[in-house]
């Protein structure tokens, strides 16, 4: 919550920090005429003290009213709403890929340490350094223009077609995060495998499969969940790159476009929404963690 509050101040306050007139910024890159500037001042209440105009903006934001974009000449919330579904689909798709592949690889690397551990560690080390836009280029070259399996650009229409179009973007977006989740999962699972209570389970003749499920995965789920959540939250920021790279008309692409045109009203709104999504996911993760760990539950209950 604090994060969200501070973030909103930073996002809104940014335009006041830089030298010059915020109104000029809000009009966008173009050379403004005095009447336009005055109109902007009035619309955004820039002549009021900072805190007043901030609070006005914030209370609007809470109600979903982010004002009107001066570049697109339409309400910011409409612009965002019409693109939201695509972005949410993309994030959800990538999140599922990340959790399945990342946790799977991590568990495999830890459980079959001898056979798979080294290979997966090496692979994930390289994957960690592969940015979304580089993977986008490689995927397009290989799977779209090369093999022709997937479309090159766009988001498609209809659910299946959309998922079809979003496959490459989702994997490009997911790629380095898979590695990250895999590495954290591996470390967590390995710590658990080496823990003393797992020795006890072995000593009591509990079958391997049950040990893995009941004593290793169950206990390692805390850190795995935390890192997965952090990753999914981070994906919202990553959509900017993935959407731009694949020409998908989502919130991220809108953010980049608006930043380039210095359309501050949109940039502020989207940044706030993305940070809010980030914070909400993290809160959900904390909540789940508390439910998963009886010790944490005891502490939380106080």
């Amino acid at each position: 919550m604090t994060t969200l509050g501070v973030a909103s101040v930073v996002i809104y306050g940014a335009m006041f920090i830089v030298p010059g007139d915020p109104a000029t910024l809000l009009v966008g890159g173009s050379k403004p005429n005095p009447e336009a500037l005055a109109a902007v001042r009035r619309q955004f209440h820039l002549d009021d003290p900072f805190w007043q105009s901030y609070l006005r903006w914030l209370s609007g934001a809470v109600r979903g009213d982010f004002g009107v974009s001066l570049v697109y000449r339409s309400p910011v919330s409409d612009l965002i709403a019409s693109r939201a579904l695509t972005t949410i689909l993309l994030v959800a798709y990538a999140a599922i890929v990340i959790v399945i592949a990342g946790v799977g690889l991590g568990v495999l690397a830890a459980w079959k340490e001898k056979r798979a551990g080294v290979v997966i560690t090496m692979a994930t080390t390289v994957m960690m350094g592969a940015p979304t836009f580089v993977m986008a280029v490689i995927f397009v070259a290989v799977f779209a223009t090369g093999l022709g399996w997937f479309p090159v650009f766009g988001a498609g229409s209809g659910l299946t077609d959309r998922l079809w179009h979003l496959t490459l973007p989702a994997f490009a977006l997911a790629f380095s995060w898979i590695a990250y989740v895999a590495q954290v999962t591996r470390a967590a699972v390995r710590d658990e495998i080496r823990s003393e209570h797992v020795d006890t389970a072995h000593a009591r003749g509990v079958p391997e499969r049950l040990i893995l499920r009941r004593h290793v995965l169950r206990n390692a789920s805390g850190p795995i969940l935390t890192v997965s959540g952090l990753t999914v939250a981070g994906l919202f920021a990553g959509t900017a790159v993935a959407e731009q790279a694949f020409g998908i008309n989502g919130i991220g692409a809108l953010l980049v476009e608006s930043a380039a045109k210095q359309d501050l009203a949109i940039v502020q709104a989207i940044s706030l929404v993305l940070v809010a999504a980030f914070v909400v996911v993290n809160m959900l993760v904390d909540l789940c963690n508390a439910l998963l760990d009886p010790r944490a539950a005891g502490r939380a209950a106080r």
Binding site: T3, A237, Q262, D263, L264, V275
Partner: protein
């Protein structure tokens, strides 16, 4: 039977002995980093062509003796662009990490030293910055200040402070509680003197490790911003920009520009990552 094998245990964790403890991957990563740095410094000398020299008669040439990596859609030599691109691509993250390291160290050491409410406040502030995605902060900065290297680099410098300060703070608190610090205090040395002459030098290995790893990710973030067209502006050669620039050629089947630039970024990021982990192992004996 076992012979008496009481060789002195190599338990000395001094920095002097780290050279001998680099493993294979770390050595390779180290070499790559050095080579890239040299390429950036000597780009004007070693690059075969002017990186901005357009040649309409030589577009999309494949690799040849004349153009080792071929040419791009306007006939510019890709290798020369990569070499020159190293300059802005590597300089940006250096600025980010330098600022983040200096500010982060000062924050971490003062928080550890002063403790109490100040320390609690600093920790909370670092958490908030940490939760704010760097990429978004950078985009906001661009929207306000305008495209170019300056805005995203400044924004990322702030974003990367927690990555350095959090780890250093924990280590500084541990150091703070060691007897040698108390001994120095008893001898009448001032807080600043102790911090600068003893505490910070002891934190240096950790700082180097964190800075190295951060450098890789800063490089990744900055090149992503350039890719989005919000960072370094053309015609300055830059790796992320080259990937974006080559994108339209991919459909036509010419992947070279994007691919080589992309792979260069990948190799650089991985190298810094591996180097960071290797340094951690060498300095701290961290066997993870």
């Amino acid at each position: 039977m076992s012979v008496l094998q009481v060789a002195p245990k190599p338990d000395s964790r001094e920095i002097t002995s780290w050279g001998a403890r680099f493993d294979g991957p770390t050595t390779v990563a180290c070499v790559i980093v050095v080579v890239f740095t040299l390429a950036a410094v000597f780009a004007p000398v070693i690059a075969p062509y002017d990186p901005t020299q357009v040649d309409p008669s030589a577009v999309y040439q494949g690799p040849s003796v004349a153009h080792l990596l071929g040419t791009d859609n306007t006939g510019r030599d890709i290798l020369s662009r990569l070499l020159h691109g190293a300059r802005s691509s590597l300089l940006g993250p250096a600025i980010v990490v330098l600022i983040a390291a200096v500010v982060g160290t000062v924050i971490a050491v003062s928080a550890a030293w002063i403790g109490g409410r100040f320390d609690a406040f600093v920790s909370r502030a670092l958490d908030v910055i940490f939760a704010f995605p760097g990429l978004i902060l950078a985009i906001v900065a661009v929207a306000v200040i305008g495209p170019g290297l300056l805005a995203p680099a400044a924004a990322l410098s702030i974003s990367y402070i927690p990555y350095i300060a959090r780890v250093l703070r924990t280590a500084a608190i541990r150091q703070r509680n060691l007897p040698y610090i108390a001994a120095l205090e008893v001898q009448g040395f001032g807080a600043v003197a102790i911090c600068v002459r003893h505490l910070v030098p002891n934190l240096l290995p950790l700082l180097i490790v964190q800075a190295t790893v951060s450098y890789g990710y800063a490089l990744l973030d900055l090149s992503a911003i350039s890719f989005l067209g919000l960072g370094t502006q053309p015609p300055t050669p830059e790796w992320g920009l080259m990937v974006a620039n080559g994108q339209s050629s991919i459909i036509a089947g010419h992947v070279e520009q994007s691919l080589y630039a992309g792979l260069t970024i990948l190799v650089a990021v991985v190298a810094f990552n591996v180097l960071g982990q290797g340094l951690a192992k060498a300095f701290m004996g961290d066997d993870r």
